[in-house]
């Protein structure tokens, strides 16, 4: 039987904070057993190393995916998509996620002043991996860690 899976964005750059997402996975690990975690954009060497360390330390089932694979192919049948963006979410595959019915948690570290209430509610999670971990676990119906 296939495990339920979530997808996270591993890009760590001036527009995404993939290593912060990996830290959230470390902190959420206890609640993520029995779930496969697909990491998009996992081929940058620091991210590949971080993912390997995550797997070794937590025993989580991790599937690293290179940037060359289309997001649609990774997102299919996912239970959740998680990313941390720096300024905005324009570079993220949110359209594909919506088309496939995949719920999204995508906090933005420095949202525009006119950002909506949903974006403002995620401000803490954009900088605090423990808060992001709590959001992920709640979205999956798992017991959330205390933030």
């Amino acid at each position: 039987m296939r495990l339920p899976r979530i997808v996270v964005d591993g890009e760590d750059s001036s527009r995404s904070r993939g290593l912060l997402v990996v830290s959230a996975l470390h902190l959420a690990a206890e609640g993520l057993h029995g779930i496969a975690i697909a990491v998009m954009n996992a081929d940058d060497p620091p991210m590949a190393a971080a993912v390997e360390v995550l797997q070794g330390e937590t025993g989580l089932r991790i599937e690293p995916w290179p940037a060359s694979v289309a997001p649609r192919n990774v997102l299919r049948e996912a239970r959740l998509f998680v990313s941390v963006a720096v300024d905005d979410t324009a570079h993220l595959p949110l359209g594909e996620a919506a088309a496939l019915g995949v719920p999204v948690i995508a906090p933005v570290q420095f949202p525009a002043p006119h950002a909506d209430a949903d974006a403002l509610a995620l401000l803490r999670a954009a900088h605090d991996p423990k808060a992001l971990a709590g959001r992920m676990l709640r979205a999956l119906g798992r017991i959330a860690i205390t933030a």
Partner: protein
């Protein structure tokens, strides 16, 4: 007759290499540095003397360090079939095992000392099958993350096992790694741990009573490395969360890449903090003066040994706020002399930074204890004696094994 040298394979542009080589007493014998890459040697190495063969060695002045300078030929052009360090796409720019074998055949060193494993140590491993009876004893220095991080990576673990099987002696930076090298199959001599840099001339550094007490200082230094081991962007998110406690401080980032500098700019605009990246300083005395102006030093990362920045912070009164993935807990009492946290818990790091920024008694009380610890354990003269004794022990054991 020329004394046979000690061949040290190390990064030529590293302050650790320079400090180690310049720390060693002259009676250990002539030293020849075989650089791991064609980069300019750091000026702190002092006088260097080109070495191509034993006749160059015979002519080398007593105050010089030899620098292997023979042009590569033949098989030295081919990179070793070994994994590169993280951040390198291949080993094309890294020293070859064939070059180490050639230098050993030419100079007949009493000891091969590789400082750092993924460049120097792997190249020495590739040299071993090329050597017969001329193979000297091999001392492996394990810097910071060489085993603690790389030992968890599938591409590197078998290579580390092979290094540990071949090595005659290992010099770790911290007690933590003793068990790790044994797990990798090492059965040789484990020398007493020492920082990668060996030691510092503590007596030449300013005394604490010549500096402002930490509680009166308004500078916060943050290690800027981000990527394969560093997590400076985590530290900056912590600073964002702690911003209300940090107004009135100058926050400066050390050795920050562009993504970290950009984030600092955003924090300056968004949070109204005085935060910026510091330019790289060639003058290490200036680096130390800056540390002596700092109230705290923040470092976040998933792997380290005993970082030199931490030791410099401890000696000059800057309160350490660092990750638990290094060896800080072997040097200071957590919660009393520094705050040590998991690298993934940014909220806890934010709380620690806030505390160090506001608790004057905490940072002032830690300063003298941290100074005393580093005085005792990072002193150039004491550690030089220990390093020379380690060399003598490994060389002596090699001679006895060869005679048996």
């Amino acid at each position: 007759m020329t004394r046979r040298p000690i061949l040290v394979v190390a990064m030529p542009d590293s302050i650790h290499t320079a400090r180690w080589l310049r720390m060693l007493p002259p009676d250990v014998g002539p030293l020849v540095l075989l650089p791991t890459a064609r980069r300019d040697p750091i000026p702190d190495l002092g006088r260097l003397w080109p070495i191509r063969d034993e006749s160059d060695l015979a002519a080398m002045p007593a105050d010089a360090i030899g620098l292997w300078s023979a042009e590569p030929t033949g098989e030295e052009a081919t990179p070793d079939a070994l994994p590169p360090p993280i951040g390198f796409t291949n080993r094309r720019t890294i020293l070859r095992g064939a070059t180490i074998a050639r230098a050993i055949r030419a100079l007949r060193p009493t000891l091969l000392h590789t400082m750092e494993i993924q460049q120097a140590g792997y190249a020495a491993l590739a040299a071993m099958p090329r050597l017969g009876e001329e193979r000297p004893p091999w001392l492996v220095s394990n810097w910071g993350s060489d085993i603690f991080l790389y030992g968890r990576l599938a591409a590197h673990r078998p290579i580390l096992r092979a290094v540990m099987t071949e090595a005659d002696a290992v010099l770790n930076e911290c007690d933590r790694d003793a068990a790790l090298v044994r797990e990798l199959g090492f059965r040789g001599r484990l020398l007493p741990p020492q920082p990668a840099s060996g030691g510092a001339d503590i007596a030449a550094l300013p005394r604490l009573d010549a500096l402002l007490p930490p509680s009166a200082r308004r500078l916060i230094l943050v290690k800027g490395y981000h990527g394969w081991a560093g997590r400076a962007l985590h530290a900056l998110s912590a600073i964002h969360l702690a911003a209300p406690a940090l107004r009135g401080f100058a926050i400066r980032l050390l050795l920050a890449p562009s993504a970290v500098r950009e984030m600092a700019q955003r924090l300056a605009e968004h949070d109204g903090l005085d935060i910026a990246a510091e330019p790289w300083m060639a003058d290490h005395d200036a680096v130390l003066r800056r540390m002596g102006d700092a109230r705290m030093m923040v470092a976040c990362g998933i792997s380290d040994g005993i970082g030199t920045t931490l030791l410099e912070a401890m000696v000059l009164g800057a309160f350490p706020v660092v990750s638990n993935t290094g060896a800080a807990a072997e040097w200071l009492a957590p919660g009393r002399d520094g705050l040590i946290l998991p690298p993934h818990d940014v909220a806890a790091l934010a709380a620690a930074i806030s505390r160090a920024a506001t608790d004057d008694a905490l940072v002032d009380a830690a300063a003298s204890r941290n100074r005393a610890t580093v005085d005792r354990r990072w002193d150039l003269r004491r550690n030089a004696v220990s390093a020379a004794a380690g060399y003598a022990e490994v060389i002596g054991a090699g001679r006895r094994a060869a005679a048996a």
